[in-house]
């Protein structure tokens, strides 16, 4: 099976380390390419928990399971809470479909909705659908480097992307972006993602707990934790169709 990439949503969580790629002489672009390569994955099946903390102090916990094939296909289903259980998301390339079992209807997420937070979280639908290849989209420069980390500032080649500027910190030993600060077009910080936990699965390193904080809304954050993952699951393309979405997420 050809190499396929993870959805951008999972880039935040499933950053993979391929041993032996770190090098002291790498340029910023080399680091971005290394990150992109690490994000490349044939397929995986996972379970996760997303906790959304609202400024009111209210916390909502969503449990889900999902299947991903590169960054082309992804299918995810909510398991909890009960009112959202069974709601499924299908990503095919840059399109996102949502199936609501309660009303047995499917909708295509488009327009302004793409910038809305998923279940009120700090992760937008656009975050889920955009390509994960930073090297293609950004010019990058190294701003600081230590023995263990490298800090890179990125500027988008096309300013219409969600975050025209980013600052990232990379764990050099594990090739994992441990902190990503996203800026809007006026270079105001809007969102910060920091990895709280990295786990090794065989030869791979994964960020299994990621905190996303809004810089716009005070006291609002989202934590995404991978609770189980299985790699190289055999899928067919037919598993990621609208018909499959409306049928089941169990395959």
């Amino acid at each position: 099976m050809k190499l396929l990439r993870y959805s951008h949503m999972l880039v935040l969580i499933l950053c993979v380390h391929i041993p032996g790629t770190a090098s002291a002489e790498k340029s910023a672009l080399d680091w971005l390419n290394a990150l992109d390569r690490n994000q490349v994955m044939e397929s995986a099946k996972y379970t996760a928990v997303m906790t959304v903390h609202l400024p009111s102090g209210q916390e909502r916990v969503f449990k889900m399971k999902g299947h991903v094939v590169g960054d082309q296909y992804a299918l995810m289903e909510y398991l909890e809470p009960p009112r959202d259980a069974g709601t499924r998301y299908l990503r095919r390339d840059d399109q996102l479909w949502i199936y609501f079992p309660r009303v047995d209807r499917t909708m295509l997420v488009q327009g302004h909705m793409l910038r809305e937070g998923v279940q009120g979280s700090d992760m937008s639908y656009e975050d889920m659908t955009q390509s994960s290849s930073w090297a293609d989209k950004y010019n990058a420069t190294i701003t600081a480097e230590t023995d263990s980390t490298v800090e890179i500032r990125m500027e988008a080649k096309d300013m219409t992307v969600s975050y025209p500027f980013r600052e990232i910190t990379i764990d050099k030993a594990r090739n994992v972006a441990t902190r990503v600060l996203n800026f809007d077009a006026s270079q105001y910080p809007v969102k910060e993602m920091s990895v709280e936990k990295i786990q090794q699965f065989g030869a791979r390193w994964f960020a299994t707990s990621t905190m996303i904080r809004s810089h716009i809304t005070v006291d609002k954050w989202t934590r995404f934790e991978i609770t189980g993952i299985e790699f190289d699951v055999p899928y067919s393309e037919d598993d990621f169709t609208k018909a499959a979405l409306e049928r089941t997420a169990d395959f």
């Binding site: 609202l54 209210q58 609501f100 209807r105 909708m107 327009g111 809305e116 937070g117 009120g120 979280s121």
Partner: protein, 411 residues
């Protein structure tokens, strides 16, 4: 012969000039009557629909929302609505209490997404508030708890929806998630308010609460009270006391006048009427001064003769002013008849601005009904009489200053 009799005779000697003066005053009085009735009707109509559709006589809302009545997000809503209703409805002055939720959505139309807003209400609780039954242009009002929907006729047309069709839309829930809903269209409505007809739909509260993750919650509770709009402030205070005593915190009972800035925005409309009346008066005054002055100048010899016969200056002034007042009375009566007749007729049929403003999303009724009243008649009458008396003052003084000998020699 009395001054009044003499003045009356004089007004008939130059019927053309008297008619011109009469018409000038009549026109000013008729215009003032209509304008006052129109503004009164427009302001009252606006307040009435604002109260019924938006504000209620009193609205129960979260304290945090008081300063931004039209900008509430769902997570700011009232909680424990059923208990709150129990407290509110135990107050005798409360006639009707209806919890409401307003939410924005994008609806899929044949030509792309159409921004719209839904209002979740319990139709049976809206009697006296939004009279959905009166608005229905086709079909019927949704049942209280059914997945049914009443939609503005223009919005329905844009969405190519007919009665019996289903409408699927996804709204943001109170916590920012996605709430799907499928509703059967039971009817379309024509409210006469372009913003509603083009953008709005009504759904029953219960299914909307589930869709929006707002069970036992609402954005506000809208109330109708005994005593109507005038009683809103004291009754709101009474309701506030009951809410506080029942242990609810950070919830306010706000009378319609204190919700947002609508009241403050519309109140100056009446001042505007006074200014316009003043301008009308000045225009009429100039016309009448001219005609009365010409009348005096034409009668220089006659006035000289009167002075020679023993009429003193004050009597001449009285004579000219009485003439003007008599014309003023006739003009005022004529103007009142015309102004009131037009106002009463338009008050019945209405003045429809919907075609003119059809491209604007106005949150108000576009058919205005003038409301002529006794106060209108008194204001307009005073205007007519003041014009007549003021307009005669200068010509009367000119007449009084005439020297009898000189006046008698004039051609």
């Amino acid at each position: 012969m009395s001054i009044t009799h003499l003045a009356f005779r004089n007004t008939r000697r130059r019927p053309g000039r008297s008619l011109l003066t009469t018409l000038a005053i009549a026109l000013a009085v008729a215009a003032a009557t209509f304008m006052d009735a129109y503004v009164e009707g427009a302001v009252n109509g606006f307040f009435e629909s604002y109260v019924r559709i938006e504000a209620g006589h009193v609205k129960i809302m979260p304290e945090a929302a008081v300063d931004r009545v039209r900008m509430l997000s769902l997570d700011q809503g009232l909680t424990g609505v059923d208990s709150l209703l129990h407290v509110i409805e135990s107050i005798p002055a409360v006639k009707q209490a209806s919890p409401r939720i307003r939410f924005g959505v994008l609806l899929d139309g044949p030509d792309g997404a159409i921004p719209a807003y839904g209002t979740a209400v319990t139709p049976s609780r809206e009697r006296g508030l939004i009279e959905l039954d009166d608005w229905v242009s086709e079909g019927r009002v949704p049942a209280d708890d059914a997945d049914e929907l009443l939609i503005g006729y223009e919005l329905a047309k844009k969405l190519e929806l007919n009665v019996g069709d289903e409408l699927f839309f996804v709204a943001s829930t109170s916590y920012g998630g996605l709430g799907p809903g499928v509703y059967t269209v039971t009817g379309t409505f024509r409210s006469g308010i372009s913003q509603l007809d083009r953008r709005a739909f009504y759904v029953p509260l219960a299914p909307a609460q589930y869709q929006l993750a707002m069970e036992d919650r609402a954005l506000n509770i809208t109330l109708m009270i005994d005593g109507g709009m005038e009683a809103a402030i004291p009754v709101a205070a009474q309701i506030q006391q009951a809410i506080d005593e029942a242990g609810f915190e950070h919830i306010k009972a706000v009378p319609w006048q204190q919700q947002g800035s609508m009241y403050e925005m519309m109140a100056p409309a009446r001042v505007f009427t006074v200014v316009l009346m003043g301008l009308l008066g000045i225009i009429a005054l100039v016309t009448v001064v001219n005609t009365v002055l010409m009348s005096v100048m034409e009668r220089t010899r006659e006035i000289g003769a009167l002075r020679a016969m023993g009429f003193d200056r004050r009597t001449v002034i009285r004579l000219v002013m009485t003439e003007s007042a008599l014309v003023g009375v006739v003009g005022t009566i004529l103007g009142l008849i015309i102004g009131m007749a037009v106002s009463i007729w338009l008050g019945r049929v209405g003045i429809d601005f919907s075609e003119i403003v059809k491209t604007m999303d106005l949150p108000m009724n576009t058919v205005f009904y003038p409301e002529p009243s006794l106060v209108t008649a008194i204001k307009a009458s005073l205007l007519g009489l003041v014009i007549a008396v003021l307009a005669a003052w200068y010509p009367a003084r000119v007449a009084a200053r005439l020297e009898p000998a000189k006046a008698l020699r004039s051609v």
